[in-house]
Amino acid sequence: MKSELMRGLLVSDFNIENLSAYLRNDADEPYVQCAVAPYGQVAQTLLDPSLPCWRSELDFLVVWTRPESILQSFWGLLAGSEVDEERIGKEVDDYSQKLLLAKDRASVMFVPTWVVPALHTGHGALDLAPHVGVSRVLMEANLRLLKNLDRASSVIPLNTPKWLELIGEKSFNPRLWYMGKVPFGNELFKAATRDIKAALRGIRGRARKLVVLDLDDTLWGGIVGEVGWQNILLGGHDPLGEALVDFQRELKALTKRGVVLAIASKNEETVALEAIRNHPEMVLRMVDFVGWRINWRDKAENIADLVASLNLGLESTVYIDDSQVERARIRDALPEVLVPEWPADKRLYPHALRSLDCFDKPSLSDEDRRRAQMYMTERRRCELRSQAGSVDEWLRTLDLCLKVEPVQESNLARSTQLLNKTNQMNLSTRRMTEQELLAWASLENHQVWSFHVSDKFGDSGLTGLLSLETAGGRARIVDFVLSCRVMGRKVEEAMLHVAIAWARSEQIREVYAQYSPSARNKPCYDFLQRSGLRCQTDNVFVWDTSQEYPLHHSVRLIHDSHRQPGCCPLPVTPHQP
C-alpha cells in the first residue's frame, strides 16, 4: 500500500527548520512534509486561525517553545529574581489556553515540554528549592502545563528531558544558537523526530502488536536441548541471569500495553515447553504466549505461519533473536517484520527492549490490556471448532452475544483505534482521530454503532463498528469494520441486521454499501458478495428495506438502552432459539 504523506506545521519561538528537515528526510514511514510558521510569532499563530499557515489541511502540529520566552516569570528567574507561584501559574494557564484554542486545526498536536540546558546549574545547590530553583520551577511549570493539556486527547506532550538524557552535552548547541537561533543540537532534533514519527505511526494504527521470541540465549542463557532446563542460565546471583529475568519482566510489562508474545524456536517442543513450565526463575509462563512454533523448520516459515494463525500481519510483528544469522534470514525473507539489531551482551537486553519505539501508541484501552487473554480464549474457540461437526453446530455452542451501543465518549478510544488499525474487514478504510469520529457521529444524518462481542469463552471486546449516512430516503454504510479475530461467526451479518433494522424503523427505503478497494480489504468485498445484498454495480451492494435482514440464530443481540443525542434508539430484535 502506498504510504500517505502526512502534513504538519511547526510553530516555535526559535529556528525550528532543522527539525523540519529531519522530519522530511527521515526514511521511516509515515513520510511527512512540514511547513514552518513565522519565526517567533507563537501567540499570534495560535490565536489567529485566518493566517496563511492554517489554510492547508494538517495532520499534525508541533508547538515547541522555550520557557523563558513564554513565561515572563521564568525569564525573571533566570535573571536572578524569585518566582511568584500564582503569577507563573497564570502564565502557564494562559499559554495552555492558546494551545487548546489551536489544537483542533490539526488532527494531533505535539507539545514538547520545557527544558533549559542540562549544564545550567541555576542557583547550584538551590536548584530544587521553591521559588528560586530553576529546575524546581521548571518541573512545576511543566506539570501544570501537562495537567492543563490532559483533557485534550488530541494533544500529545513530548518528553524533552528524555532527549536531553539520551543526547547529553550535545543537546544544546551554543554555536547554532548565536549564529542562527537554533538552540538544540542535531542529535536532539533526531531524537524528537523519532518520537514524533513513532507517535504518528501509533495514531495511524501502525504500532507493532506482536513480539516473536527465540528461546536459547534470548529468553534464557544456554541451549536447553544440550544442558536441560535445570541448567539454563536464568536468574540466580548472576549478572547475566538477572538481566535475563529483567528482560522477561519487560516483555511481560509490554503485554499490559496490548502487545502479545509468541515463540519461534529451533528446539524439541517438549523440552522447550518444559523449561517454560518448570524453571523456577521463568517470569514468562505458557499463559503469556499466544502461540508458538517450536520445531526444526525454517524460522521464516514458522513465523509467517504463526503470524497468519493469529490473524495478524507481518507489519505488526517484531522478531527478537540473539543469532545474527537468524536475524538476517528473517530480514531477508520477511522484510515487513521488524528485526531490531540485538546486543551480544545479555546485560543490555532489557535496555535494548525498552529503547524500541515501535509499540508507541497515543492511548491505551482496556482491550489493549486484555489482548493476550483474548488470544488465549480464541485458541480455545478454535479447539472447539475442530471438535464440532459443522460450522452451524459450532456457532450454536459458542453462545455468541453482540452488544450494540452508539459510539460515545466511553467507547470512543477503542472505536477509533479499531477504525484506524483494521485493514481486512474495512469497507472504506477511513482513518480518523477520536475528535473527528465523535464530530462525525454527532451530525444529524449520521449514525455510528459499536459492537461488543462475547461468547462462552470470554469477551472479545469492542470489535465492530458500523456507520450510516442518510440522505434522500437512502442510507449509505460509510464504515463497516470488524476485527479479524471475530470474523466468520455471523457477526458481520448481525451488524448488517442492526443497520437495516434501524433503517426500516426510520422508513428509509434502501441501505447500500460502496466498497472502496484497498491493498488489504478484499475480505470485506468477499463478505459483501455472499451477504445477500444485491450487487448493483461492481462495488455497490444494496438492500431493499421492505425486507428484514435475517439475524443468525446463533447470535444474541443486546442493545444499549442509553440514548445519546443525535442517535436514535435501535429497534429490539428478539433472539431466535
Binding site: A21, N25, L176, M179, V182, N186
Partner: protein, 105 residues
C-alpha cells in the same frame, strides 16, 4: 589527531555527511574539493551555511583540540573566500589551525 590536510578533509567529509541529512536531495553536497559552498554557484542557503559552520567548528575542536571560529569577517581579510568550495575551506582551516600568521590568501 594530527593537523594534516588529509585529516581535515576527512573531518570535512564527515561534516558534509551530517549536513546532507538535513538537505533536500537536490541540495546535497558532494565530498569533492570543487564542490561549491557559498557565493557564485554555491549550493547552501543561509541556514545550511550556519549548520555547516557549526559542524565544522565542533568537529575540529573535538578532533584537533583547537578552537576554530569560522566568522566570515575574519576569513574575508584575505583576497580569497574560504567558503567558495570544500577545497578552499579545507585549505583555510589548515591555515588557521596551523597558527599561520597573517591573512589567508
Amino acid at each position: 589527531m594530527k593537523i594534516t590536510r588529509q585529516n581535515i578533509v576527512q573531518t570535512l567529509d564527515e561534516c558534509i555527511d551530517e549536513l546532507n541529512e538535513q538537505l533536500n536531495k537536490e541540495q546535497r553536497l558532494s565530498k569533492t574539493p570543487e564542490t561549491p559552498l557559498l557565493g557564485n554557484g554555491g549550493g547552501l542557503d543561509s541556514l545550511g551555511f550556519v549548520n555547516l559552520v557549526a559542524l565544522v567548528e565542533e568537529k575540529c575542536q573535538e578532533r584537533f583540540g583547537r578552537s576554530l571560529v569560522l566568522a566570515e569577517s575574519d576569513a574575508k581579510q584575505g583576497t580569497r573566500n574560504p567558503f567558495d568550495t570544500v577545497g578552499t575551506l579545507a585549505e583555510y582551516i589548515e591555515h588557521v589551525l596551523a597558527g599561520n600568521p597573517g591573512a589567508w590568501h
